[in-house]
Symmetry: C2
Subunit: 339 residues, 2 copies
């Protein structure tokens, strides 16, 4: 019972999860590229030793992805590796933080090296895209496939995007289409197994808005990433900022593939409540709108204004009922108690 | 499927895992005690924002504790909470790092608030003892009880204890008795359910050697914590340092309760291979022996010299065979590839 590691844990880590490490290539066990990444000591000791940038804040977040809860067990290993890191990187994006390091705890029901190779490819592919280094890990054998990642980023203290700075009169805006991930999950359950299908890809391979957030962090009042669904996450933002919101649901950006798949009414419902899109929800002073839009468009992104921050608590707006547009007043979804 | 949190995840976190947080007591959502702990922004946003100490290294480690793999599912919730954090703190002790912050990912098969209350009590009890703050968490519902903790400590760059500094001629020493945790696990399987039983307590409530390590970090050549077993962990140290070792197994410190429980031969076997004791294994220049012993004894601890570092690879020594003492030559247990 005390020897809980899968047989060959050390070897599995060496083979699949030390891709950025050049073994024993220097006397202090750190390669030049590791030194540039702020890694004083990488994997192979009891802790990683890291060198935070002077004067910056460390942003830390943890998320677990569990098979058949957060992703379909039969998705490709590469997609599972991508998605597990993406949802964590999205928390760094939500703060406008620059990704630095992550650690990985992997619980495997069995050791399938082909699966591990694909998982590592998806994980490292996204890690390299966002310049974040894997610095530690733990592999355990258990009944359920479970992936817990802790990400570390850095941000200037006065420019971190938080949930508590939204002010009445601010615009509410999102950085991309909503509901597509929910549509993709439904398509997957209906048998669509082509991971390049645009809706399925939106669910399995979300793109964390890291670069976008870093480019606008000093121009927005508040923000977070949309993981639970627009209404739920807007509720978190409002609760934390002590404000309310008025949404124009007619302005929600919907992917045409989603509307074609679900119809307009259900597509809008997916956009309001679906979750898993990992776009950013931002509150910003109207005077910042043009500059923020330009910064996002420079990166190939977009800004869609979808409403306003109000001083009255609660979320109201107009939404489709399937028979037309009606005003609605949503309950406050957020307690502000959790990341 | 996208809404994977247990019902009431936010409320569970608020109720059990925000004990150090004074809610909304200041405009920036941080209490005076949090500010002292280097917490710029605690739980309640997408990331915690932390303030690392200037010029120090960040030590980071992650470990998963899985029910019936790393701890008995029917142990008290308080012991499970204590142990899950202790094994992570022990990785900070292995580097001589000062504990600062940790994040917790908890997968629960069901929501048992009485269990959560006990778990939090065990976790926070040890956290307060070692001055480490819980700054983020994630609660998921799954089939298996699983606890993944990522710990963060700080250490001066030139005084971190690593695995790669052992030199031929160094003494090998440990900070306490070995084998007791293994004896406790066997006692548990044999029906001993008194968690105050000395061997059971050694298994369920290990004491991470944080203060001891901080007091001697500049006087030792190398070190790690003994989690896999003395021979296995000595193998890791030797592989990483490029040295061998000669053990005097007659010098291994054994708890009298262990010898009484298992007999001398099996007690020694438990000390060599049992694991889970979380004492430190140190390599130190003989000239440092007196100073290191004095520093440890000042803290109520001890130093037991158990052998020497050699230039020849491999681990040799004398050990009991049950019929007397024989020389042995252990295989190299370590690859140096993993924390």
């Amino acid at each position: 019972m005390s020897d809980a590691a899968t047989p060959g844990e050390f070897e599995l880590i060496r083979r699949y999860f030390m891709q950025d490490v050049e073994h024993a290539c220097s006397s202090d066990h750190v390669s030049p590229s590791q030194a540039r990444a702020g890694i004083v000591l990488g994997q192979g000791d009891d802790c990683a030793l890291l060198s935070p940038s002077p004067g910056r804040r460390l942003a830390v977040s943890v998320d677990t992805s569990l098979a058949d809860v957060h992703f379909p067990r039969d998705a490709s290993a590469e997609a599972i590796g991508h998605r597990a890191l993406a949802v964590n990187l999205s928390d760094l994006a939500a703060m406008g933080a620059r990704p630095r390091w992550f650690v990985l705890a992997l619980t495997l029901p069995d050791v399938d090296e082909q699966w591990l190779e694909g998982f590592a490819r998806g994980l490292y592919g996204l890690a390299r895209e966002h310049d974040i280094a894997l610095v530690g890990g733990d592999i355990t054998r258990g009944q359920e496939l479970s992936i817990t990642i802790t990400v570390h980023g850095e941000v200037d203290d006065d420019s971190a995007i938080t949930r508590h700075g939204a002010r009445p009169g601010d615009l509410l805006a999102v950085t991309g289409t909503l509901g597509s991930a929910h549509g993709g999950l439904r398509a997957w359950f209906n048998g669509q197994r082509d991971e390049r299908h645009p809706l399925v890809a939106a669910y399995l391979r979300p793109a964390p808005r890291i670069k976008e957030a870093m480019s606008i962090q000093q121009r927005v009042s508040a923000g977070l990433d949309i993981s639970d669904g627009l209404l739920a996450d807007l509720g978190h933002l409002c609760a934390r900022s002590g404000v309310g919101a008025c949404l124009d649901a007619t302005a929600l950006p919907l992917d045409q593939a989603l509307v074609a798949s679900l119809g307009e009414h259900e597509a809008l419902e997916a956009a309001l409540n679906g979750g898993d899109d990992y776009e950013l929800l931002l509150a910003l002073d109207p005077e910042q709108e043009d500059a923020v839009r330009q910064a996002l468009e420079t990166l190939g992104g977009a800004l869609h204004v979808i409403g306003r921050v109000t001083s009255e608590p609660g979320i109201s707006g107009v939404a489709s009922t399937g028979r037309g547009w009606q005003h609605f007043h949503a309950a406050d979804h957020g307690t502000g108690a959790s990341p």
